[in-house]
């Protein structure tokens, strides 16, 4: 059976989502999409310039992709709502990743304001994907407010430190009925695989590609790791044991019963 991620009525095959803010050239987005098969690409509306012929980032995103505009630069719900509406008007479609970041040093989001924006934008018919600090209670409120998926951070943006928030995000994955997409801080394909093994709906990556020697090949590696992690999750990830175990632990089991 085909494994499809469904968000906002859209069926998505690739669970490798792409961030675009740090690429050395806009044309690299297309190359990365082509080699990795990414279908969801996020762009900051603040960088979208529809008035320019050669500088419009949207022209570098293949038509097959879903554009997920983000509200980068918003410091509160009001600004995020305004940016989301402008994004729709600018032709970025209906998907909006809400980023409300009142902290420029650590770039940690404000869950409270994000929730407010989610509520308003979901009512306006947006497919809302809030970027958030991992928090089960708040994530449940996001679901109730109409979020299509939630995007907890794996570690600090740009840090490449991996899936540091695993404990809380794993609980979110178990308890929340919409996709949980791990965003930010995922530094290596093995980190991405780990997120997917734990049941994440998808993983979003940008810095890890840009800080590698070859972003295009690295994107392919991430895409493969995401697939591997996903298959692993679907196959039922085995639990870990403290000591060594024989590969046939039931050998002699029946005889023991018969003798007893």
């Amino acid at each position: 059976m085909e494994d499809i991620l469904e968000i906002g009525g859209r069926k998505i095959k690739s669970r490798f989502f792409l961030g675009t803010g740090k690429f050395p050239r806009k044309s690299m987005i297309r190359e990365v999409v082509e080699t990795s098969g990414a279908e969801v690409v996020t762009v900051a509306l603040r960088r979208v310039d529809t008035s320019s012929n050669d500088e419009n980032v949207l022209d570098h995103i293949p038509k097959t992709c879903v554009i997920m505009a983000n509200t980068s630069g918003a410091r509160n719900a009001e600004e995020a709502i305004r940016i989301a509406r402008l994004a729709r008007a600018a032709g970025c479609g209906n998907w909006i990743k809400i980023e409300v970041i009142p902290d420029n040093k650590y770039l940690l989001p404000d869950n409270e304001e994000t929730l407010k924006a989610t509520e308003v934008l979901a009512k306006e018919g947006f497919t809302v994907l809030p970027y958030m600090n991992p928090d089960l209670v708040c994530a449940l409120k996001m679901v109730k407010a109409g979020a299509a998926a939630v995007m907890p951070l794996g570690s600090l943006i740009g840090s490449n430190r991996g899936f540091r928030t695993e404990e809380v995000v794993s609980v979110m994955i178990k308890e929340i009925d919409i996709p949980v997409i791990v965003d930010a801080g995922i530094g290596r394909p093995s980190d991405a695989a780990r997120c997917m093994e734990m049941g994440a709906g998808a993983v979003l990556v940008n810095t890890a590609l840009v800080t590698s020697e070859n972003p295009v090949d690295m994107a392919r590696a991430f895409s493969m790791a995401v697939t591997a992690g996903r298959i692993s999750y679907l196959s039922g990830l085995p639990c870990q044991f403290d000591g060594a175990r024989a590969s046939s632990p039931f050998k002699g089991f029946l005889r023991t019963i018969a003798n007893g």
């Binding site: 803010g21 740090k22 050395p24 050239r25 960088r47 310039d49 500088e55 902290d103 810095t207 840009v210």
Partner: protein, 371 residues
């Protein structure tokens, strides 16, 4: 604003830290130790600035490069300055526009502003920095506000580099569409400040020092600070610029803070810098700032020659001006012998050339970065 709550207090507490707290023993060994640590503290910054050997600066540059790519990507923001007026009531010994200089003075009419605006935006730029001299009479807040309204028709981001304003005045300009402030302290050393700012409202050290925090209290999004390198000891000036940026970052976490590293250039008054800042020093300044302030933007203007700017890109610069002129109306009006520049520009490349240079070096030029 109570000076007990402003950066002036922090400055006063730290002003005697120099040079007394410089490391004892081998300064390069100390700097190497700092480079091994996970985080650079203000003490570590002093040690990085004190270092002198090539090998320390090179290791620092390597780290600064990696940190910049991680935090900003391979992206450089472009803007251009537009001079609105060169009338000035201040007597700053180093400035081409100072009151006592006999030069042709002009304030652009709104039609002239519109022409400059059309010319600059035609180059693809979406971020403009408007400048005036220090004359409230010739370029009042109401005039700046009218200019901002004209400019917002073409630009997504308008920053101001004008005389020091009150919180309410900043608020007025922010409401009119200003999102960025550029305010150089020129020299943090308070004694030197008084020696080079002979008269005019700019002579008030504390009012200028606290202007960035007034603008931030009023809700401005971005603030760019800096010291005019050459007016005071560069190590000390860099240290206080960094301390100031860290203070603003902490007190206004939602703001985007940047620092500039302008070296004093030749201008009409033929003022001789008090302190020499070599190219090598500039590399050390940029790398030290980056390591101490990993998230702060670093701006490098056309004051520096093209080859040096291109080189400094890789060690931490995130913002550059392009197609600059420091003359009132300089984008659209022919050069006039009398209407002088504020200072001399060394990198005279146009916007397209800068764009191609960045692309060639594997950097994405960003023209638009706000709504």
């Amino acid at each position: 604003m109570d000076s007990n709550e402003t950066f002036y207090k922090l400055y006063s507490e730290n002003k005697n830290r120099f040079p007394g707290s410089l490391p004892l023993g081998n300064i390069d060994d100390s700097a190497f130790r700092v480079l091994m640590l996970r985080e650079v503290t203000s003490g570590g910054l002093l040690e990085l600035l004190a270092a002198s050997s090539d090998s320390v600066i090179e290791v620092a540059a390597e780290r600064a490069h990696a940190l910049t790519v991680r935090n900003f990507g391979k992206v450089v923001h472009l803007y251009t300055p537009m001079y609105l007026s060169n009338f000035c009531d201040n007597e700053c010994v180093y400035c081409g526009f100072k009151k006592g200089n006999i030069i042709e003075r002009k304030t652009l009419t709104l039609d002239e502003v519109r022409r400059e605006s059309e010319f600059i935006s035609g180059k693809g730029l979406k971020n403009v920095l408007i400048l005036t001299g220090g004359s409230r009479k010739e370029a009042p807040v109401s005039y700046i506000k009218s200019c901002v309204k004209v400019l917002r028709e073409k630009f997504n981001s308008v920053s101001i580099e004008v005389y020091e304003l009150t919180t309410d005045e900043y608020k007025e300009l922010i409401d009119a569409g200003v999102d960025g402030l550029v305010m150089y302290q020129e020299v943090y050393d308070e004694d030197m400040y008084r020696r080079v700012h002979l008269s005019g409202s700019k002579r008030n050290y504390e009012f200028r020092l606290t202007a960035p925090e007034r603008a931030l209290s009023a809700g401005i999004r971005t603030v760019n600070i800096g010291a005019l390198l050459g007016l005071g000891d560069w190590r000390r000036e860099t240290f206080f610029t960094a301390l100031h940026a860290a203070y603003l970052e902490k007190r206004f976490p939602s703001a985007e803070i940047s620092v500039s590293v302008p070296r004093i250039r030749a201008q009409v008054s033929s003022f001789e810098p008090c302190c020499k800042v070599t190219d090598r020093n500039l590399v050390q300044i940029v790398t030290s700032l980056r390591l101490f302030l990993p998230r702060v933007g670093i701006t490098l203007s056309t004051r520096e020659r093209a080859s040096l700017r291109d080189m400094l890109l890789s060690v931490g610069v995130t913002r550059m001006s392009a197609g600059s002129t420091t003359r009132v109306g300089g984008h659209t009006m022919p050069a006039d012998e009398n209407r002088t520049e504020q200072f001399e520009i060394l990198d005279v490349r146009g916007v397209d050339e800068i764009k191609e240079m960045l692309k060639g070096k594997g950097y994405q030029p960003v023209f638009k970065d706000w709504i």
